[in-house]
């Protein structure tokens, strides 16, 4: 591989507190040789060709902590190849995959399969999770230790919550012993049963069963009460309401844990469900505008650490149904960054905070050396034209499933190039 030189970029690398105009050098092995303002026209060899980025941005490759891939079992929704292409077009170079496949990732033999498929078909870094409990039943925990040794990065039941308090306490104890990361999707099953959207005026109007925000808060409060007794690495997958932000803010003063939020909940609210739009049927549900604003504030105040795409590809057959029967989730990995930039453009969140929540924060929680531009590290990064306007059209999406929550939305800011290990794998 030839050395690559990029000059005159706005480089943001939160992990190394870098936010300046400068350059980036990639060495022959695809690793980062130098970054920042010291890299300029004057101190690179004159015979070398360089790329003048003319003020475009360089961000570390995005680490998306919540991604559903259809392999194995639902390849028709998304496979590793289509996921990679979609991710790269959105500047995502590392993903944490959910275990909700068929069969479920709950034993060591499945991990070998995943790693093989991931290696052969994926162009991005795949960090698979396994389920917390066997067959996602919420009763018997999986082999955290053995699974970790095989390369499992964290444990979660994905779309399901551990309802049983005793099981949860034992999971936390084991996670403490084995230094495992536990990711909880926080929703009380009984309160949310048959729920389809936020419980409020819109659900009343549409005649849809609501999911009260207290269903989320009650699991968060329970888990954090347990965490005081059983300290382990604990992460709340995504939160959706002002109540949850308030609870987490208070508990963070004396407890160590982390919290994520889906870009959908940061950008949309329950009104977007409109006339039964099934692409907006999400879990956790979109809530009120006040809830959305509280989440944005939570991100600003570092109550929320991570923004995820909650990329959940579903084919038409799962969505061209009545709202009650339609599947949850939206395809969002390729719009994650652009939609996040909306929060910067409209003045709600600083750019550095957004990039931190997309790169270095998830990497730190996962304890992986990704999401940064440190010298000697693999050159995973993206180049972004932060002002470029574009319109989301489902026919242009690279994901195998077209269930975007923001069809026809006008966005500002687009990834133009994405590099993994110093190799350009996406070019607009």
């Amino acid at each position: 591989m030839k050395k690559k030189y990029f000059l005159n970029a706005n480089i943001i690398d939160p992990q190394n507190s870098l936010d300046e105009i400068g350059g980036l050098i990639i060495d022959e092995e695809g690793k980062i040789e130098a970054t920042g303002k010291k890299v300029n026209e004057k101190n690179i060899p004159s015979r070398e060709k360089y790329i003048d980025l003319k003020g475009k941005y360089i961000f570390p490759g995005i680490v998306d902590m919540r991604v559903f891939v259809g392999e194995p079992g639902y390849e028709y929704k998304e496979n590793f190849r289509t996921l990679s292409n979609a991710a790269l077009s959105g500047g995502v170079t590392s993903v944490v995959t959910m275990p909700n496949t068929n069969p479920i990732i709950d034993n060591v033999s499945m991990v070998d399969f995943l790693k093989r498929r991931g290696r052969d078909k994926s162009k991005i870094n795949i960090f698979p999770t396994a389920s917390l409990t066997k067959n996602l039943e919420g009763t018997n925990m999986t082999e955290f230790g053995l699974l970790q040794k095989k390369g499992i990065i964290a444990f979660t039941d994905g779309v399901k919550t551990i309802q049983n308090t005793r099981v949860m306490s034992r999971i936390m104890n084991s996670a403490y012993d084995l230094n495992s990361l536990i990711i909880q999707h926080a929703e009380d099953f009984d309160l949310a049963e048959n729920g389809m959207m936020n419980d409020g005026i819109i659900s009343t109007k549409l005649g849809l069963q609501g999911i009260p925000d207290v269903a989320e808060k009650i699991i968060i409060e329970r888990d954090l009460a347990l965490l005081e007794e059983y300290r382990c690495r604990y992460h709340i997958s995504q939160i959706s309401s002002a109540k949850s932000v308030a609870t987490i803010k208070e508990k963070k003063q004396f407890l160590k844990f982390s919290t994520g939020v889906s870009i959908n909940n940061l950008s949309l609210n329950e009104n977007d469900v409109g006339d039964f739009k099934t692409f907006l049927k999400l879990s956790p549900p979109l809530r009120t505008e006040d809830d959305r604003l509280a989440l944005v504030e939570g991100l600003n105040k570092k109550v929320i650490d991570v923004i995820v795409s909650d990329h959940k590809p579903e084919d038409e057959e799962q969505k061209r149904l009545t709202f009650a029967k339609a599947a949850n989730g939206s395809s969002g990995i390729e719009t994650l960054l652009s939609l996040s930039l909306e929060l910067f453009h409209n003045g709600s969140v600083k750019l550095n905070t957004i990039i931190e929540a997309l790169t270095s924060n998830p990497a730190k929680i996962l304890k992986i050396n990704k999401g940064n531009l440190s010298i000697g590290n693999n050159a995973d990064f993206c180049i972004v034209d932060i002002n470029k306007p574009w319109v989301v059209k489902n026919e242009n999406l690279l994901s195998k499933s077209k269930n975007t929550s923001i069809e026809n939305k006008k966005l500002q800011g687009k990834v133009t190039n994405t590099f993994v290990n110093g190799e350009e794998l996406y070019k607009l």
Binding site: S203, G210, D275, L321, T322, F323
Partner: protein
């Protein structure tokens, strides 16, 4: 040929999906048309040829006796060919989706499809896929527009107006499409609406719809002109909404002592079918001086004739 007067009034919607979509002039148009049909329905020769040559399909995914027969009769009296689809034996049971069913029926060129479905919004989805008019005969807990229209017509016939009346709607509001459609319509027509329900059966944020909420039935019935009772589904007892039928009857059943709180000339309505002794005292239900439940059924046919006529292209 359309006459001059037909041209003057037009309906704003292609489909009848819910009261929410209708304007006040739409409602008045439907109610005035329906009034014409009351006389016809009471006469010897009940059949006219307004919809001759038209095809009406009744697509009922949920069991229904009175709504389905009312729509069937309405279509037949207008001269349409009416086909009622028996869903139990249809491809739906074999896994066909609602959209595929819609496309199949659409290919048969019906002029009207009347739909009853257990999921809220099902008729909206269906209406996007067919060319003909879709009439909602009840979708989930969202809307049941013809029921609200027939209730309004019955109130108008009995009280001479809706405007200014105080009307109580009592019972399982949470799961009721009839309640939602009536709230929209009675509000639109200028009534004051009191909602009476145990909190477990009261939907979230209902007060934002411009109604008064009560969990004490006597307070909710105070000085009411109309008391509209809703059917209580038996399964509500098994899911911790309520403790028992007898306790529900004690606190939310319409009994003479509770009715005393309403005006002396208050009238009782019920969309049927009734659970006597659960939501309503059996003698009150049959009291010809107070109960207008039979009139509701009668005017239901007239209202549905009006809707079929107006929405048929």
């Amino acid at each position: 040929m359309a006459t001059k007067s037909d041209k003057a009034v037009k309906i704003s919607q292609k489909h009848l999906l819910g009261i929410q979509d209708l304007s006040i002039s739409d409602v008045n148009y439907i109610l005035s048309e329906a009034k014409q049909f009351i006389k016809l329905n009471r006469s010897d020769n009940k059949k006219i040829d307004t919809l001759r040559g038209k095809t009406q399909i009744n697509l009922f995914f949920e069991p229904s006796t009175r709504t389905q027969s009312s729509f069937e009769l309405a279509g037949k009296r207008l001269g349409a060919d009416v086909m009622s689809m028996n869903i139990v034996n249809s491809a739906i049971k074999k896994g066909e989706t609602l959209i595929d069913t819609a496309m199949t029926l659409n290919a048969m060129h019906p002029d009207l499809i009347v739909v009853r479905h257990q999921d809220s919004g099902a008729c909206n989805l269906l209406s996007q896929k067919v060319e003909c008019a879709v009439i909602n005969a009840g979708d989930g807990r969202r809307e049941h527009p013809t029921q609200a229209l027939l209730d309004a017509l019955t109130i108008k016939e009995k009280k001479g107006k809706v405007q200014g009346l105080r009307i109580a709607i009592c019972g399982d509001i949470l799961h009721s499409r009839v309640a939602r459609s009536n709230i929209y319509l009675l509000n639109m027509l200028g009534a004051e609406v009191n909602i009476v329900a145990p909190t477990n059966l009261m939907p979230k944020d209902l007060e934002k719809f411009g109604v008064n909420k009560f969990s004490d039935m006597k307070k909710g019935l105070k000085d009411c002109d109309i008391v509209m009772m809703l059917r209580l589904q038996n399964e509500r007892m098994n899911s911790s909404f309520l403790a028992s039928n007898r306790e529900y009857y004690e606190y939310y059943g319409l009994t003479p002592d509770k009715l005393d709180c309403a005006k002396n000339d208050a009238l009782i309505m019920h969309p049927g079918p009734m659970n006597r002794g659960i939501e309503i005292d059996t003698n009150l239900a049959d009291d010809i001086n107070k109960s207008i439940i039979q009139e509701q059924v009668e005017l239901g046919v007239a209202v549905r004739m009006a809707c079929l006529k107006i929405f048929c292209k």
